[in-house]
C-alpha cells in the first residue's frame, strides 16, 4: 500500500502547482473527489472538522470513500450513516466521552457494514509525516507488544535497528488522495493560516496528493504576507479554496466558535435508540433537505451559533 517514489513524484509533477486562484463553491470542490478515493480529514475530534465539505460530499452522493483522521467524532457517524464511506482509519472514534460511546459507530461496525481500522494516535501522525516527507516509512517505538499492532501487522514492518540493535516498528507512509482541511484564513491561491491548535494539519497537506481548503474567511494574499509565521501550509499543495463561514459547525473552530453543544446533545439523543433511523432523520433534516450550507446553519439555530461564537471568542479572556 506504500506508494513507490517514482509514482509519488510523477503524480505530484503532473499537477498544476502554479500560483493561480482556486476559489470555488463547495459543490465544485466536491467534484474534485472521486468515488473510491482515500480522503484524509483535517482537524481533530470536534475541532476544525471540515463539516461543510463532508456535507457537500454527502449531497453529491459520493460512494466507497475511505477516510482517515487523527481522531474521529460525529463526522464519522455522518460518514457511515450517509453511506459515503465504509472504512475509517483513525486512532479513536466516538462522538465524545461525555456522550458515551457512539451508537452509530457501534451499529455500523458491529454489524460488519463498516470498518474502523485502529492505529495509535502517534502512529497516525507519523504515517502522515512520512507521507509528507516523501519517505516510505517512519521509525517508531510505540504500538509494540499490543493488539493494536497485531491487528495491522501486515501493513507494517519490525526491524532490528542497524545502529543500536533495538527493535523498532517501521510505520508505512500514508499519502491520501485528498485532504479536506478547514482553516481560519486562506488566500485565493491556497496559502492557509491556522491559529492555535494545529493538530496534524502541518503534515497532512504535504502527505496528500491534493488538498481542498475550506476557510472561515478568504483573505488577500497581501494579508497572508503580513503574517507569514501563521501560514501553516503553502498554496502549491492546494487544489481548491472555498469560503465557508462556520464551516466546522456543529464542531468548533479555534478562536471563532466552540462546539454547538446543544446540537451535539440532540444528535446523540436522536441516534441513541435507533442509530439507523435517528441518523437518517438527522441527515434528511440537516444534509439533504436544506437549500444551502447557510440553510443548514439556520436549522441548527442562531441561538446555538451565537452561544458557540461567544465561547469561541473568549479564548484569551482569562
Amino acid at each position: 500500500m506504500v506508494i513507490s517514489y517514482d509514482q509519488l513524484r510523477a503524480e505530484t509533477a503532473a499537477r498544476d502547482r502554479s500560483l493561480h486562484e482556486k476559489v470555488m463553491t463547495l459543490e465544485e470542490a466536491a467534484g474534485l473527489i472521486k468515488d473510491g478515493d482515500h480522503v484524509a480529514i483535517g482537524g481533530c475530534m470536534m475541532s476544525r472538522t471540515p463539516m461543510a465539505m463532508i456535507w457537500a460530499l454527502v449531497r453529491a452522493g459520493r460512494r466507497d470513500l475511505t477516510f482517515s483522521r487523527s481522531i474521529v467524532s460525529s463526522d464519522g457517524d455522518i460518514i457511515f450513516a450517509s453511506g459515503i464511506g465504509k472504512k475509517i482509519i483513525t486512532s479513536w472514534f466516538s462522538q465524545g466521552i461525555v456522550w458515551g460511546i457512539s451508537k452509530v459507530m457501534r451499529h455500523w461496525v458491529e454489524s460488519g457494514r463498516a470498518e474502523f481500522e485502529e492505529w495509535s494516535h502517534m502512529s497516525m501522525g507519523l504515517r502522515y509525516r512520512a507521507g509528507a516527507m516523501g519517505v516510505p516509512f517512519m521509525p517508531s517505538r510505540s504500538m509494540m507488544g499490543s493488539d493494536v499492532r497485531r491487528r495491522v501487522d501486515g501493513q507494517l514492518k519490525e526491524i532490528d535497528c542497524p545502529f543500536t540493535g533495538e527493535k523498532l516498528l517501521l510505520l508505512p507512509a500514508l499519502n491520501p488522495d485528498v485532504a479536506i482541511i478547514h482553516v481560519q484564513r486562506c488566500d485565493p491561491y491556497g496559502n492557509a493560516q491556522l491559529d492555535g491548535l494545529q493538530f496534524m494539519d502541518v503534515d497532512l497537506p504535504l502527505a496528500a496528493k491534493k488538498v481542498i481548503v475550506t476557510a472561515e474567511r478568504i483573505v488577500s494574499n497581501d494579508q497572508i504576507r503580513r503574517a507569514p509565521d501563521q501560514t501553516k501550509f503553502p498554496f502549491f499543495t492546494v487544489e481548491a479554496v472555498v469560503e465557508v463561514p462556520y464551516g466546522s459547525a456543529p464542531h468548533e473552530c479555534y478562536g471563532h466558535y466552540e462546539p454547538f453543544f446543544k446540537h451535539m446533545d440532540q444528535f446523540a439523543e436522536l441516534t441513541r435508540k435507533d442509530p439507523e433511523k435517528g441518523a437518517g432523520e438527522y441527515l434528511e433534516r440537516f444534509y439533504h433537505d436544506p437549500k444551502s450550507w447557510t440553510d443548514t446553519l439556520g436549522r441548527m439555530g442562531l441561538g446555538d451559533l451565537l452561544t458557540a461564537t461567544r465561547g469561541g471568542r473568549s479564548i484569551y479572556d482569562v
Partner: protein, 255 residues
Amino acid sequence: MSDRTHTASELLAVMASRSLDDGLTVFAGVGTPLLAATLAQRLHAPGLTILFEGGVIGPFIVPGELPPSTNEQRCTRQANMLCPITDVLLLLQRGYVDVGFLGGAQIDRYGNINSSFIGDPDHPSCRLPGTGGGNDIASLSRVIVAMKHEKRRFVERVEYITSPGYLEGGDSRRQSGLLAGGPYRIITDLAIMGFHPETKRMRIEALHPGVTAAQVQENTGFELEVSEDAHTTDTPTEKELAVLRNLDPDRLYIG
C-alpha cells in the same frame, strides 16, 4: 461506606490528584485525569505541567469550562505552547513526560488496558472508541491509571491489549521492544494498586478509608496480593472537594 460525603468519582479524582507531585510533567487524558491534574495544580502542585494530546503544553483549565476532549480550544487556556499533535506525542517517545495519566475500560493483572473491543475483535459485542493516544502513552511513559473498581473491569486477561502494561509479566514488556515506562499506579475508588517489581503482578499498595483488602479482592477478577508497605489513605478534605466541585460545577465527570 454509606457515610461518604463524596461520590466514588470524587474520591477517585482526589486520590489521583494526590499522586501528582509538584514539578512533574503529566500527559493527561480527558475526564478524571484532567480533573485530577487540574485539582493538583490548584492545591499542592502549582508547578505541575499538563500536556494534552491535541498539542497543548502547560495550560490551566478554567473552572466550569471543562473541555469535552483534550482536542478543543478549552484545553488551550493560558497554555505556554501549542504544537502539532504528532510533536506533543513525540515528547513521550523522547522521554520528557514524567507521568502518563489514563482512564480505562478494562485492565488485567499485568496492567494491560483494553479500550477497543468487548468480545472477539472480529465480531465484537461492543466496539469501544479505541486507543487515541492511550497506546502511545502506555508504550512510552510511566503510567497512572484512574478507574472505577468493578469486577468486570478488573479481569484476569484483557481480551485485547489496547495500551500495553507488563504484557505477560516478568520482562515480557521489555522483550516486546518497549524499553521504557509501564504502569506504576492504578488508582480506584477503593484502593491504590502497584506492581510487584519482579513478577509485575498487580498488588494492593494502599486502601482508602473504611475499605478492606477483602472488599477490594471481591471487586477484582483476579487474585491480588497486598504489598508489605500497604497503608490507608487519608479521606478527601473539604478543601479538596470544594476545589474539585468548583472545577466541575455541572458534575460532568464527578457524578
